[in-house]
Symmetry: C2
């Protein structure tokens, strides 16, 4: 397996942020750099369609915005969640009212999709880090198992399957979504 490769060690966060961006993106965690896996079909379609669905609910009333492969730098880490969702009021803007380039805070909701070549604990650890810094909700999606583990502050995670209803951000609470709805996004025919 080629797994979340550790590329460099012993580099500062400032030095890391000055390096050119890579594809796939690299992340800075506990003083080390890890390269994200090259996305494959199931990962890519879930990332694309799920962020679209979230934005269909969140953008119309300026409640929340889902962004894919966004670098979020906070609390000494620089993470690139598969999907980072920000409540509207927390989206950083520049002097022209446009979205800022640098995101220097945690997302309100972080979503990670397990790739076949990733270590689950590494990915889960990123979600737990976010939650401990202020993120309200984390989803860990395993397309192989058609399961989704939900993380919220100060409690054990919950593993959801099939018709289980999934918690979403409070600002999106009009939207009711089940585990099957997420994995139906994989269907082409």
């Amino acid at each position: 397996m080629t797994l979340s490769t550790e590329v460099y060690s012993n580099i500062s966060l400032a030095e890391f942020l000055n390096l050119p961006e890579t594809k796939p993106a690299s992340e800075y965690i506990d003083g080390r750099i890890y390269e994200k896996p090259m996305p494959q079909g199931k990962h890519s379609i879930l990332q694309t369609r799920l962020s679209t669905n979230i934005n269909q609910v969140g953008e119309s009333q300026q409640k929340a915005l889902a962004l894919t492969e966004l670098r979020c730098t906070f609390s000494g880490h620089s993470l690139v969640p598969d999907i980072a969702v920000f409540e509207w009021s927390r989206i950083p803007t520049d002097e022209n009212g446009e979205i800022a380039n640098r995101f220097e805070s945690y997302p309100d909701w972080t979503i990670e999709i397990l790739s076949p070549d990733q270590f689950p604990n590494r990915v889960i650890n990123k979600i737990i880090f976010c939650i401990n810094q202020g993120t309200k909700l984390g989803w860990f999606i395993d397309p192989n198992d058609k399961s989704l583990m939900v993380f919220q502050p100060n409690k054990l995670p919950e593993v959801k399957y099939n018709a289980d209803i999934l918690p979403v951000l409070d600002v999106l609470s009009d939207w009711q979504v089940k585990v099957v709805d997420i994995f139906s996004l994989l269907k082409i025919k």
Copy 2:
């Protein structure tokens, strides 16, 4: 991948318990039967040596007992943790003072070792179920990643690596063990 195979559905717990035992063991979870994976080298040596280590600390002063592949039936589930640890006072005995055959309660500490052919969320869900029923501590060991996720009641899990010290049962608190100590059990030469 041949993954935690679902064998039967729609069978009662009593009916399940009347079925002959299988090798590898089967588990009854949410009304369905799942067959555990056939253990491989890394899984087997961790299970064997770690239970030995726990018992070296726990048995001498009758504090706790680690048991491998023990069927624990409680709260409508019948689980077979890779290692189930019971505090001494909670080990069920028969009229002769011998250990009982049937364990009808949760272990105090449950340890699961991820096999290459298992879904992580399925395995983690077993640990979370135990903790929600009264288990005080859960370890989820990923030999690939040399990482260990720790579960305790009413809090987010923690992922531990390298020199991180691991929580153990309070009755075993004389024993200090690090993540590297666990994975050094894999070494033959």
